[in-house]
């Protein structure tokens, strides 16, 4: 059975990019444009993995991450953070919140697939 992945990003091209590539790689992908929507979908779908843009209009990706990690049903779900900021202090914070990994924008498709597989524990 195909693993479910939730992609949360406010930028349409990025959502499209991630979705089509992961679908092509055999995953079942749902997308959300805002943090709120992402949280709602996460609770409904119980995805195996969440890809989360850290910078979104309605709430900071950090808010979403904290909400996810403090939700008992979702705390085990690995979260891969997508960020355009230089990987510095944020990485430490992400680690502290036990995120599944970090994708620094711009990233290549290989990097994306690699991160997803690692986060899902497929390799």
């Amino acid at each position: 059975m195909a693993k479910k992945i939730l992609v949360t990003d406010d930028e349409l091209p990025l959502r499209q990019l991630v979705k089509l590539n992961l679908t092509a790689s055999g995953y079942k992908v749902r997308t959300a444009t805002t943090g709120q929507e992402g949280l709602k979908l996460a609770e409904q779908e119980k995805p195996h993995l969440i890809l989360l843009d850290i910078r979104m209009p309605d709430m900071s990706g950090w808010g979403v991450l904290i909400a996810l990690k403090t939700n008992r049903k979702l705390e085990k779900v690995p979260v891969v953070i997508m960020t355009a900021s230089p990987p510095t202090q944020e990485d430490e914070e992400i680690r502290a919140l036990r995120a599944g990994g970090v994708l620094n924008k711009p990233f290549s498709v290989e990097e994306l697939l690699q991160q997803v597989k690692t986060a899902l524990g497929e390799k």
Partner: protein, 714 residues
């Protein structure tokens, strides 16, 4: 009627007249009243004597003898009168003395009808009917002795009093009274004694009395004989005074004090009389007081010397002492000291002094300048406190003599201030003033206009605080704050820009690598779609870079404009397509009059501004809402406005909207994406054209961005 009885009648009338005379001329006092009673009693006595002397029969004579038996009362009244006249109350126990006189007198009168020997029986002699005096009767003799001794006592007292009186008028009065009274007394004594010597002459008392009345009447008229003795009046007056009065003799021994003195100091009058006057002073000030009195001796008087009296119980009384001398020619007779109790005044003064000191201290020591100045255009200080000198560096005198405008860094500020001051009752204002040493200071003034009932300003009362240091500190703080803020915003902008650049880059990179995937075979349509996305994102990146370049140019003042003459309608036409594209989901309304003056602008840049504002309007207003572009000519400019019905902008943000750093923050706070550089680029472009740009907005009701462009180019 014989001559003797006629004499009695004349004596009666003289006594009566004397009584009336004194009654009419004299003042109402006990002495006077006693004299009048005496006159009337004597008058009655003379009348009975007159009747007796010419009585028709023995029985009729006997009846008149009875009628005349009131004579002992006349003796009693005489003594009473004498005691009153000499002020005998002090030397005799008045009650006892009078008791010894009145009671026997009444007893004699009461007993006479029962014992004829007391008053005698009628006998006819050559001067008419008279009474026989029974020289053998012991009782009668005792009565006569009593009468004689009292009469002589009266005479003695009057003479003694007369001799003792120093005061000239008193002495004259005494003389006339002694003469006037001694004559009837001597006659009365003769009348009483002669029967014992076996001789009988007509009774002389009444005759003597009638003659004696003459000097008395004269003294009454001339010397006001029956007015109260001056010293008694004086004493009475002194006793009613509230001030303390002490009269000393030349040796400074107390001779007289009034009641106020003995009451205030708690001494009996007798405890003070004869004592040195320093007895009323506390020991430590005695020397000063004595010295003062020595001075008095050489000069004539002194007044309002504030010293302290000490009462018998040790109580201190603050007094204001005045002194004067009583001199007899060149000889000092007495010193008159009048002390006013000023304890209460002292206390009031002390209270006042304390409160003055308190406020004086407050006004003098406070670091706040306090002043009163005139309301004329230049202004003068009417009063300043020391802090004013400290603040302004001028002395008090210098301040009071200079114009207020001289203090101003910009003298015209005073005029503006005056208008405000007159209009309002109280203003708080910051002023830039120049100190004497030339340094500029900043003051905070609270100025109250004091007006008369017509609202005319009389003067200003102001409180001035030197806030130069605070102002400097605050300025430094503000600058520091701005620097920090700028720093913070700059780094925000950097991360914002970096994010904004990475996002299209991420798409480009992502889609390129997607196309390059070897494990997936994309269809032709998919490939085209991805390439389109790559193209769009590359454009976005290009715009972003161009924006950043524009900002850099604007900041460096290197924005180049290639100006030409354009009609706004022309420009609008050339971007119609782009506008339509931007407002696909909104309703675009153009309100641009055809007769606008031509503009002298860089078309590309103006398009950039309009497009940018439109983009923002579309971004921040709901789908389907109206977006209006309106334009109108204002003086030699054209004003263009972009009006949306969007969410509006919070008032605290409108001020800094065109500041790139603040806009950056708005985005950083997680609103809509975008570098937020649009408004600041617009501002740069508009200002480079010599125009202005601003926004009017209300949260929830939309925004109106307006800018002006210069006309002309002909």
């Amino acid at each position: 009627m014989n001559i003797y009885s006629l004499i009695s009648l004349v004596a009666c009338l003289i006594s009566l007249s004397a009584g009336f005379f004194v009654y009419v001329r004299g003042s109402r006092n006990p002495l006077n009243q006693m004299f009048i009673i005496l006159c009337f009693v004597l008058s009655y006595w003379s009348l009975t004597e007159f009747a007796l002397r010419q009585a028709g029969s023995a029985s009729s004579a006997q009846a008149w003898i009875y009628m005349s038996s009131v004579w002992p009362l006349a003796i009693a009244f005489l003594l009473h009168f004498t005691l009153l006249f000499i002020g005998g109350g002090e030397h005799f126990k008045k009650g006892y003395v009078l008791g010894l006189v009145y009671i026997p007198a009444i007893l004699i009168i009461a007993l006479s009808p029962f014992d004829p020997s007391i008053i005698g029986e009628p006998v006819k002699v050559y001067w008419g009917w008279t009474y026989s005096v029974s020289v053998e009767s012991l009782f009668s003799t005792l009565i006569n002795l009593w009468a004689i001794s009292i009469a002589l006592l009266c005479l003695y007292l009057l003479v003694r009093h007369w001799l003792k009186t120093d005061e000239p008028i008193g002495r004259k009065r005494g003389l006339y009274l002694v003469v006037g009274i001694s004559l009837p007394i001597l006659c009365g004594v003769l009348d009483l004694l002669l029967p014992y010597l076996g001789t009988r002459i007509p009774e002389l008392t009444n005759t003597g009395y009638a003659i004696g009345m003459v000097p008395i009447a004269y003294a009454v008229a001339k010397y006001r004989l029956f007015s109260l003795p001056l010293e008694l009046v004086a004493k009475k007056m002194l006793d009613t005074m509230n001030d303390l009065l002490i009269i000393t003799d030349a040796e400074l021994l107390i001779r007289e004090v009034n009641q106020a003195t003995s009451k205030a100091l708690g001494f009996q009058e007798s405890e003070l009389l004869g004592q040195p006057w320093t007895k009323v002073l506390p020991e430590e000030t005695s020397a000063v007081a004595v010295e003062t009195c020595e001075k008095v001796k050489s000069r004539t008087s002194f007044s309002d010397l504030e010293i302290v009296f000490e009462a018998k119980d040790g109580r201190r009384i603050d007094v204001s002492l005045s002194g004067s001398t009583i001199q007899d020619g060149s000889k000092l007779r007495a010193i008159l000291l009048v002390a006013r109790d000023i304890t209460e005044r002292k206390q009031a003064e002390e209270t006042l002094r304390q409160s003055e000191e308190k406020y004086h201290g407050l006004v003098e020591n406070v670091k706040l300048g306090i002043y009163r100045s005139t309301a004329d255009p230049q202004g003068r200080f009417l009063e300043v406190n020391p802090a004013m000198s400290e603040i302004l560096g001028y002395s008090r005198e210098e301040l009071l003599s200079m114009k207020v405008t001289d203090l101003y860094v910009l003298p015209e500020e005073r005029r503006q201030l005056l208008e405000k001051e007159v209009a309002q009752d109280r203003i708080v204002v910051k002023r830039r003033l120049r100190r004497k040493d030339g340094t500029e200071i900043m003051t905070l003034d609270t100025i109250t206009a004091m007006k008369d009932s017509h609202g005319k300003v009389l003067y200003f009362d102001g409180i001035m605080e030197d806030i130069t240091e605070q102002e400097k500190a605050a300025q430094k703080e503000r600058e520091l704050h701005i620097l920090r803020e700028v720093d913070r915003l700059r780094s925000e902008l950097q991360s914002n820009v970096s994010h904004e650049m990475r996002t299209p880059l991420a798409s480009i990179k992502g889609f390129t690598t997607t196309l390059l995937r070897s494990d997936v075979k994309w269809s032709e349509e998919e490939r085209t779609e991805y390439l389109k996305i790559i193209d769009q994102e590359a454009d976005r990146l290009a715009w972003l870079i161009s924006d950043l370049l524009d900002i850099a140019r604007i900041e460096a003042g290197a924005l180049k404009l290639s100006r030409q003459k354009y009609q706004l309608t022309q420009i609008m036409e050339s971007i119609a397509c782009r506008l339509a594209n931007l407002t696909r989901k909104h309703e675009l309304k153009l309100e641009i009059p055809a007769d606008l003056p031509s503009l002298f602008v860089d078309e590309v840049r103006v398009i950039q501004v309009i497009a940018n504002l439109m983009e923002n309007a579309a971004k921040f207003s709901p789908e389907g809402s109206e977006i209006t572009i309106e334009a109108k000519a204002v003086e030699n400019e054209v004003m263009v406005s972009v009006i949306d019905r969007g969410e509006g902008i919070a008032p605290e943000l409108t001020d800094n909207l065109f500041d790139r750093y603040y806009q950056a923050r708005r985005v950083a706070d997680g609103q809509k994406s975008g570098t937020g550089l649009g408004p600041s680029i617009c501002k740069g472009i508009v200002e480079a054209h010599g125009g202005r740009i601003w926004v009017e907005s209300k949260l929830g009701a939309g925004s109106k961005f307006s800018f002006t462009l210069p006309t002309g180019g002909d």
